[in-house]
């Protein structure tokens, strides 16, 4: 009986080549679904990772530490002096790529002829530059210099709104820590264009010292933003920091808590992707179901003979399933090769979406998109396709096995 | 001249599709006169079907030519051949002759439809001929609702209805029992007399050979006997 299994496999393999054309078309359908899934999925995941890393690199960082309740209220009264143990940890831990202290306040900014509201941010320029891509986003002048207490660095749109150029002077007015109106004059060092219309319209950077002086806040800061060397360590680092910081006084927030819009945009995109992929699989699977059904029905007589000779219905089911598995596996193998090839090609040559530059920028995306190879995408695609093919073969297989030999023999 | 309806000149057919070359026909010279009722017999593989197919323009000879109603078939295009078959020939095959999705009446009408005959006349002629072959009650039946013999009668009706010069029948009785086969043959023989249509059969069937007026025997692609009765 040792040859029994092999015989069914051999039979199945020969059967699928009885009608080469049909098998080739069916395999092509599988190849199409697999290739499409691998490519679009890798593309989407790569794009999402890029969105996240671009957004985090410009400003937010992987996680931030605030005075408890700051994120909710965004007020200067919820500020803090970074405790000793935090700075020691951040300096020493290897997983920390960089960390920066910032002081944020809403202020009025005026060039003399024009005025607007801004988010004024005090930063430590030398530290910001350790990770931030803001320097690359600069479109005129220079970034802030360390210790330059008179410099201010603005979003491009904001500078345009104020009608100012590099080295023009700018007045900032705000309420200080004690509720008094405080004003100071700065010189524009340069402008940036991050791509996010919101940032470019509303952000102004001065040095941390200048901000603390303007607001009479000594050493207090609004946030400590942390950039990790490897984004994978986010959970562990967060846990470690939570381990020694007093939760009654501080809040540790990861990027996804601070940017729910980004997270949900990605989730929504994924959901659309899953629905679309599901639709394609469904359509392809119905086609395959039909092909298998026909392949089975035209062999009713043959199944009748097999059963008359003593083949068990279970073996007939197995035979049909193995035939379908062969088709699926063939399609999957070719689809993986093709999918890999196409995806790999676009890891070298970017897809150019310059036409939609502004929309893409809102989502923190570049206009030239490179794909990336994700092995898990291949694995999940293969499993899903294999199982849905087998599922679609189940109906014809069971139909064939329920056949009564006498009727099958009469069937033409 | 009007006498000779079919003339084959040195017909040879060589099949080279598989590794072995098969000489299915080796120089067949055959002349059939209008109104003949003749059978071609011979052992299996002797070339009967091949000969009928070539005469009917379904297949082309390797060498030699077929002249049908004075026309050389070798000069006709595929669609001219269709046209020629439509107007000059009727076919009856061994089995599964009919279009399964059409009723008996529609199967008979089909050829006239291709000829562009008007609906009313089509219907009238089809009904008449179905009555003539004894199927007046089966006009609206589909092929799967009829017996093999009834289906063959419809095939005869269809072959004859377009008033062809020649009807080619490849083993028309092979799937029928002898009584049914004989009545089919008697019917065709009547048609032959009444309408002056030439019938050319291929057959293994002794009864068909008995009914025919001329018998040609083929062996290994050659004519070994040609008896007029």
């Amino acid at each position: 009986m040792s040859g029994g299994k092999n015989l069914i496999v051999t039979l199945a393999w020969r059967n699928i080549w009885r009608n080469k054309r049909r098998t080739i078309i069916t395999v092509s359908a599988v190849v199409f679904a697999v290739t499409l899934s691998i490519f679009t999925w890798c593309f989407a995941v790569g794009e999402h990772e890029m969105m996240i890393s671009n957004t985090l690199k410009i400003h937010t960082g992987n996680l931030q530490i605030h005075d408890l309740g700051y994120w909710e209220d965004k007020t200067i009264y919820k500020s803090f002096i970074p405790p000793e143990e935090l700075t020691v940890f951040l300096e020493k831990d290897k997983r920390i790529g960089a960390y920066v202290k910032r002081l944020n306040v809403d202020a009025l900014i005026s060039s003399g002829s024009d005025t607007g509201g801004v988010l004024l941010i005090g930063v430590e320029p030398e530290r910001e530059l350790e990770f931030s891509s803001i320097k690359k986003k600069k479109v005129s002048g220079e970034y802030l210099k360390p210790g330059d207490s008179k410099g201010i660095f603005l979003g491009e749109t904001l500078a345009k709104n104020l009608n100012v150029k590099v080295s023009d002077s700018i007045i900032v007015i705000c309420q200080d820590y004690y509720g008094a109106i405080s004003a100071a004059k700065y010189i524009l060092t340069g402008t940036f264009k991050s791509g996010s219309p919101d940032m470019d319209r509303s952000m102004a950077f001065i040095t941390l010292d200048a901000a603390q002086y303007l607001l009479s806040m000594d050493d207090k800061v609004s946030e400590v933003a942390i950039f990790l060397s490897e984004s994978r360590s986010l959970k562990k680092v967060t846990r470690d920091i939570n381990g020694f910081l007093d939760p009654e006084k501080f809040e540790v927030m990861t990027w996804d808590e601070m940017l729910p819009g980004l997270v949900q945009a990605i989730e929504m995109d994924n959901a659309f992707g899953v629905i679309f992929f599901g639709l394609i699989i469904l359509v392809v699977i119905f086609g395959i179901l039909n092909t298998i059904l026909m392949a089975v029905m035209e062999r009713y007589r043959e199944f009748g003979v097999m059963m008359a000779l003593g083949t068990k219905p279970r073996d007939i089911v197995k035979l049909v399933l193995i035939e379908s598995a062969f088709i699926a596996i063939l399609g999957i193998i070719i689809g993986n090769i093709l999918g890999f090839g196409i995806t790999y090609y676009f890891t070298i040559v970017p897809i150019d979406l310059a036409e939609y530059a502004e929309t893409l920028a809102t989502f923190g995306m570049d206009t030239e998109i490179y794909t990336k190879i994700y092995v898990w995408v291949f694995v999940i695609t293969d499993i899903v396709i294999l199982f849905s093919t087998l599922l679609s073969a189940l109906y014809p297989a069971i139909k064939a096995s329920r056949l009564k030999p006498v009727r099958a023999l009469r069937y033409v | 001249m009007t006498d000779k309806i079919i003339e084959t000149k040195k017909l040879t057919k060589v099949y080279e599709e598989s590794k072995v070359k098969v000489n299915a026909l080796r120089g067949i010279d055959l002349t059939v006169k209008k109104g003949e009722f003749m059978a071609i017999a011979g052992p299996s593989g002797s070339g009967k079907t091949t000969l009928l197919n070539i005469i009917g323009g379904l297949d082309s000879p390797t060498e030699g030519k077929v002249i049908l109603g004075g026309k050389d078939l070798s000069v006709l295009s595929k669609s001219e051949l269709s046209e020629m078959r439509l107007n000059n020939l009727g076919f009856i095959f061994q089995a599964y002759n009919l279009i399964p999705v059409l009723s008996a009446l529609e199967n008979v009408e089909y050829v006239m439809l291709l000829q562009g005959i008007k609906q009313e006349e089509r219907q009238k002629r089809a009904e008449e001929i179905l009555k003539e072959v004894g199927l007046g009650d089966y006009i609206n039946a589909r092929p799967n609702e009829m017996s093999g013999g009834q289906q063959q009668r419809v095939a005869v009706a269809r072959a004859i209805v377009s008033n062809p010069n020649v009807v080619l029948a490849d083993e028309p009785t092979a799937n029928l029992d002898s009584t049914t086969g004989e009545s089919l043959l008697v019917m065709m023989s009547e048609m032959n007399k009444k309408r002056d249509v030439t019938f050319l059969f291929s057959t293994h069937d002794k009864m068909v050979m008995d009914h025919s007026e001329r018998l040609v025997i083929l062996k290994d692609g050659e004519i070994t006997e040609d008896k007029q009765k």
Binding site: R21, A107, L108, G116, G117, Q264, Y356 | L86
Partner: protein, 408 residues
């Protein structure tokens, strides 16, 4: 050709299960394709609609350059004259004049950068949904010192109804001016971002505060119909004849939304292509099989005088009918679901935060089946069916009767 059609039609019904399965595939494909695109289009038109109703309006008139930097200096000096010119224009439904100045709003607790709208409390609600977003207190009533702010901003400033807040900005005379306002009402629009940034005061108060006399920043207009917008803007530009004033349509005011809609549409066309290909595989195989199993029969058709071109036609008609039936069933089911979803909408509230990226549309999306969607999805299904028939049709047309008989 009639004959080929008749045979084709009957052939489709020969194997009902087979036709049924492939029709299901077509119906599912059509349904999915139409609704994916309808949802995208629903989002797009919501995006446009919400933006227009949240103050963008159909057309805005301002001094050239105002949109770039919203400077108080770029204003309309004599709005009364401009209004008299356009008031009776055909196609114009309603208008409202506004002052728009960027400034800072402060409470004792906090301050925030905002856009100050000075509005005509009577006319503005006719073209702006803002009054309908009210959740506490009242909308502006024209009395001095009233302000209408968003809930999110009130929270940030830690203020409540009737509290006093200070609005600060730059006046026309270039000095920083400020005034205190009492909170008359609080609103919640479709997007918290919007609520944080936009505050509303009476037109007169804003003109006094920023020393603008009777000047305004812009005049917003609604046309009778969204399709008339371009022609309305054009006739205004021809009519007003005031140096430096320009009417711009919503498309020029919110190019980002327009681009987003275009990107969605571009993706939609990709959906058409991909679904067509996916369907075609199944249809090719179905027709091919149904043709191949009839080889002998087709051989007989040819033997008794049917021309190859008619056999070709017959198979093509089979594809045609499959496509047609798929469309008929598909659209019946699609319309059925559409009727339901038009009433209930689709709940997207789990993605509420990301929808604000799309111009703050609501969380219930109503699918919109547009003309191009109907056309291209029907066309795609049709093309899939007919193109799929082409291969089997050519294949069988090349067949000779002799081969056909031997193949079985």
């Amino acid at each position: 050709m009639k004959l080929a059609m008749k045979l084709a039609w009957r052939n489709i019904w020969r194997n009902k299960r087979r036709s049924g399965v492939i029709l299901t595939a077509i119906v599912v494909g059509l349904l999915g394709m139409v609704f994916m695109i309808a949802i995208m289009d629903g989002m797009s038109s919501d995006m446009v609609k919400v933006s227009i109703e949240n103050g963008v309006s159909h057309v805005q008139i301002h001094r050239e350059g105002f949109l770039e930097n919203m400077s108080v200096a770029l204003n309309i000096r004599n709005p009364g004259y401009v209004i008299s010119k356009i008031e009776d224009m055909p196609g114009l439904k309603t208008y409202a004049e506004r002052v728009k100045v960027r400034g800072l709003i402060s409470s004792p607790e906090n301050s925030s950068g905002v856009l100050i709208w000075g509005i005509n409390y009577e006319r503005e609600p006719k073209l702006n949904s803002i009054a309908s977003y009210k959740v506490e207190g009242e909308f502006l009533s024209g009395k001095k010192g009233e302000i209408f702010i968003g809930k999110a901003l009130a929270k940030k400033l830690k203020v409540e109804l009737d509290d006093k807040i200070v609005v600060r900005g730059q006046g026309l005379a270039t000095e920083i001016v400020s005034a205190a306002f009492r909170i008359k009402g609080i609103y919640v629009s479709t997007s918290p971002e919007y609520d944080k940034y936009n505050i509303f005061i009476n037109l007169k108060d804003s003109q006094n505060l920023f020393a603008m006399n009777d000047r305004v920043s812009e005049i917003a207009l609604m046309a009778d119909d969204l399709d008339d917008v371009d022609s309305l803007a054009m006739s205004i530009n021809n009519e007003i004849g005031v140096q430096g004033l320009k009417a711009e349509t919503w498309k020029e005011i919110i190019p980002l939304i327009v681009q987003m809609v275009e990107m969605f549409t571009a993706f939609n066309y990709i959906v058409f292509v991909i679904v067509v290909i996916a369907m075609a595989f199944g249809i090719v195989n179905t027709i091919l099989m149904s043709v191949l199993e009839r080889t002998r029969e087709i051989g007989i058709l040819m033997a008794i005088g049917t021309k190859p071109i008619m056999v070709f036609g017959m198979v093509m008609w089979e594809g045609f009918f499959l496509g047609l039936l798929g469309l008929v069933f598909g659209w019946i089911i699609t319309i059925f679901f559409y009727a339901i979803l038009l009433k209930t909408g689709i709940d997207f509230s789990i993605w509420a935060d990301s929808l604000k990226y799309m111009g703050g549309i609501g969380t219930t999306i109503y699918p919109v089946i547009k003309g191009y969607n109907v056309f291209w999805s029907s066309f795609s299904v049709f093309i899939a069916a007919v193109l799929s028939a082409l291969y089997p049709a050519i294949k069988i047309m090349r067949l000779t009767p002799v081969k056909a008989f031997r193949s079985v």
